[in-house]
């Protein structure tokens, strides 16, 4: 029955070919370090799900952001869990992405023909760090406020265009409602869409080029 249904679908969509290309591809003998990319992908999915749930109650306005987060923690069933998972998985994702990059670097897996995979990976690392930076402001508590004050000030020390960068990040000279809404837009729309698009290219390249084998002792 199931195989009949799959056959019916496959005839119309080629789904079995897609499945085989993605999951039944040949890989060399590898070790646990090679799972870090998948771990990053898993954590990103967790962030998408818990993040979407958080926006159900979160309000990106200076008057309400703090209270709405307090409400998620104390007034909504499982709110503490959803926010807690989003918080910890965020830190963990930065860690796994970074370790994944180190793995690729130390195995020399960035070399021909995988340079573009590496370059898209750099974009993913930067966007992931951007998610951490923009997300940190959203609870609008003292730590968030001052961390963002410091972070944007550091960006302001760039010679020449520093002041422009600082104002563009803050949406004005100081941290304000303008900062909160633009960080929210970046955190919820712009960066996730960039990450999603670039992950697609990254994974396409991983599948198309295959995974590199660990170098032999005599290499």
């Amino acid at each position: 029955m199931a195989s009949k249904l799959i056959g019916w679908l496959d005839e119309r969509t080629g789904i079995v070919g897609v499945y085989k290309t993605v999951f039944d591809r040949k890989i060399p003998r590898v070790n646990w370090w090679f799972t870090l990319g998948s771990a990053s992908l898993f954590l990103f999915s967790i962030q998408v799900v818990t993040g979407i749930l958080l926006t159900v109650y979160y309000v990106p306005s200076p008057e309400h952001a703090y209270d709405s987060v307090q409400y998620i923690m104390t007034g909504v069933q499982f709110g503490w869990l959803i926010r807690g998972v989003h918080h910890w998985a965020a830190s963990l994702m930065v860690l796994t992405v970074f370790l994944h990059m180190l793995r690729v670097f130390f195995y020399g897996a960035y070399k021909y023909p995988r340079e573009i995979t590496w370059v898209t990976g750099v974009v993913l690392l930067l966007a992931t760090l951007g998610m951490g930076f923009t997300g940190y402001l959203l609870p609008w508590n003292q730590k968030a406020y001052w961390a963002t004050t410091v972070g944007t000030s550091i960006a302001g020390t760039v010679p020449g265009i520093g002041d422009f960068i600082l104002r563009a990040l803050r949406g004005g000279a100081d941290l304000s409602a303008m900062t909160l809404t633009r960080f929210f837009a970046a955190h919820v729309w712009m960066l996730p869409l960039v990450i999603l698009a670039v992950i697609s290219v990254h994974l396409y390249l991983v599948i198309r080029n295959g995974i590199s084998a660990a170098p032999k002792d005599d290499e």
Binding site: I46, V49, V56, Y57, H64, Y71, G75, V76, Q77, F78
Partner: protein, 162 residues
């Protein structure tokens, strides 16, 4: 099929089954809290039931329905807001009745018009008589009446909120 092929095939089946089982457990671990989280406001008991003092009974007119307005604070999620009420106090020889000013048609506010001896609703031209009975228009029921009590000469009404 050689022996190692058979081992590989059964290992594949094991991996597939384990992956599906672990995936289902993880899906439930996320899915159940997610549903509770989304349904949370709908499951809250909420509501309130309170006696609200309207002041000294003797201060209300025995000639005309007298409007009385008050506000009550309300918390929806993380936001505190106020809800305002206008009620009409109707006193006569039989005692006192307190009517809501909310039209029983579609909830507009009715006001007392002395010259017409009626409450009129601005939305669809309804009229209610001095005791809240429907005189004219689409409302299906008379104006709602509040439960009242008198304590130390003060009039109180019972306000129940959903």
């Amino acid at each position: 099929m050689s022996e190692s092929d058979a081992v590989n095939a059964s290992r594949r089946r094991f991996v597939a089954t384990t992956a599906a089982a672990v995936g289902a457990v993880m899906g439930a671990a996320v899915g159940v809290p997610a549903l509770g989280y989304l349904a949370s406001p709908a499951l809250e008991a909420g509501g309130s039931d309170a006696w609200v003092p309207l002041g000294n009974l003797e201060s209300f007119s025995t000639q005309q329905p007298t409007p009385f307005s008050f506000t009550r604070s309300k918390t929806s999620g993380w936001r505190k807001s106020t809800r305002s009420y206008t009620v009409y106090v109707i006193r006569n020889a039989d005692g006192v009745r307190v009517l809501s000013s909310r039209c029983t048609h579609l909830s507009c506010r009715v006001t007392w018009h002395e010259e017409q001896n009626a409450f009129t609703c601005p939305c669809h031209d309804a009229q209610f008589g001095p005791q809240g009975e429907v005189l004219y228009g689409p409302p299906p029921k008379p104006l709602e009446e509040y439960e009242t009590k008198i304590e130390d000469g003060a009039l109180l009404i019972r306000v129940v909120e959903a």
